[in-house]
Amino acid sequence: MTRQFKWDSGLGLLGLLLLFVGSYIGLFVAPAERYMGETQRIMYVHVPCAWNAMLLYTLAFIFAIVSLWTHRPKWDAVTTAAVEVGIVLNALLLVQGSIWARATWGVWWDWDVRLTTSLIMVLLFAGVLALRSFVHDAGRRATWTAIATIVAFVDVPLVYFCVRWWRSLHQVQSTPDTVAPMMVVPLRINAFAILFLAIWMMAQRVRVELARRAQDQVAEPERIAPIGGSTNA
């Protein structure tokens, strides 16, 4: 297999570069917030992770529907990739949020709707991957992944809208009007940076999945399922 320069490597490098630029502006150029001081700078990684995690879950939901419809392996691969990268960003989101919460609210965690639904969200999608790792038949694995992803997606609109519907400790979404212009710049740059990195990660994950699938087809298809499941996802 020839190793040529692939589109996703370029996108990944661009993402990395943007992340450095955005974080530099966010950390050293943008002003401190009038009340939250320096701690507000956590926003430049927290909010991009949140946006992209939701975006990836939404993509996973759409891919899952297509996968269920077409039964094509590539749709199963992209669904899995979107779910997995979404989980990574979601987990980072919770940790960053927790640190920021300690600084501003004064607690590491609170059972507010936004926090609770975000935690449920990561558990739900982690369940999808757990389910995958236990199913050895490729066709069934694809179908069940799609089903579990669609069901898990019920929580995603709740996460986004709960702060508007219900009184919560977490503030409602900010808009460019409520954020100082010099803070919007690094926020936007980092949002695209994380997006590009996420696409790069998804592309790698898709390749892993397709390579594994090709391997499975070469290996005898009727192999006995190992106990505990060695197909780690």
Binding site: P31, A32, E33, R34, Y35, M36, Q40, M43, A103, T104, W105, G106, V107, D110, D112, V113, V154, P157, F161, W165, W166, R167, S168, L169, Q171, V172, Q173, S174, T175, T178, V179, A180, M182, M183
Partner: protein
């Protein structure tokens, strides 16, 4: 076969409509006002003695001029207001750095016999305004009140009373 396919399709559309409709009802049906994460001072006052002793969360703005540190520095007293009612708060917990006059807070605790709210868990709520120092530093209570999300419900009530 095709009639069965059709039936499946109709059932699928019906199922999606039901799920989306119920989700929309949850969002806009107004039950959120009853599943409150925190009570407003007005609501707490209205519930009177019923609320005494129960563990509840109360949210509102720190009333300007109400913050009193005790001489030994161990206890802190202040009042939480929503513009209409005001509840005295009593706490021995150390407030977060952002605690100040006019800021939104959520406290968890219970009302004691003297009608004071005792709390060990004092959280400062931040609104969705991110500004550099020096910009709009005036104490805009109306703006801050928006972050407490009482506004929408108040408008609903005004609409109801107008009808």
């Amino acid at each position: 076969m095709s009639s069965e396919r059709n039936r499946r399709r109709i059932l699928a559309v019906a199922a999606i409509m039901v799920a989306a409709g119920v989700l929309a009802f949850l969002a806009f049906g107004g039950i959120g006002e009853n599943l409150v994460y925190y009570w407003s001072p007005t609501e707490l006052q209205a519930s009177g003695e019923q609320a005494q002793g129960a563990t509840i969360r109360l949210g509102g703005l720190v009333e300007p001029g109400s913050i009193q540190h005790s001489e030994d520095g161990l206890t802190l007293k202040f009042a939480v207001t929503d513009g209409e009612a005001s509840i005295p708060i009593n706490t021995t917990s150390v407030p977060p750095a952002m605690f100040r006059e006019g800021v939104g807070v959520v406290v968890e605790g219970s009302v004691n016999r003297a009608g004071e709210f005792e709390t060990q868990r004092l959280l400062v709520k931040h609104d969705n305004q991110y500004q550099a120092p020096g910009e709009g530093e005036s104490l805009d209570m109306a703006e801050m009140m928006k972050s407490m999300q009482f506004e929408m419900e108040k408008q609903d009530k005004e609409k109801e009373s107008a009808e």
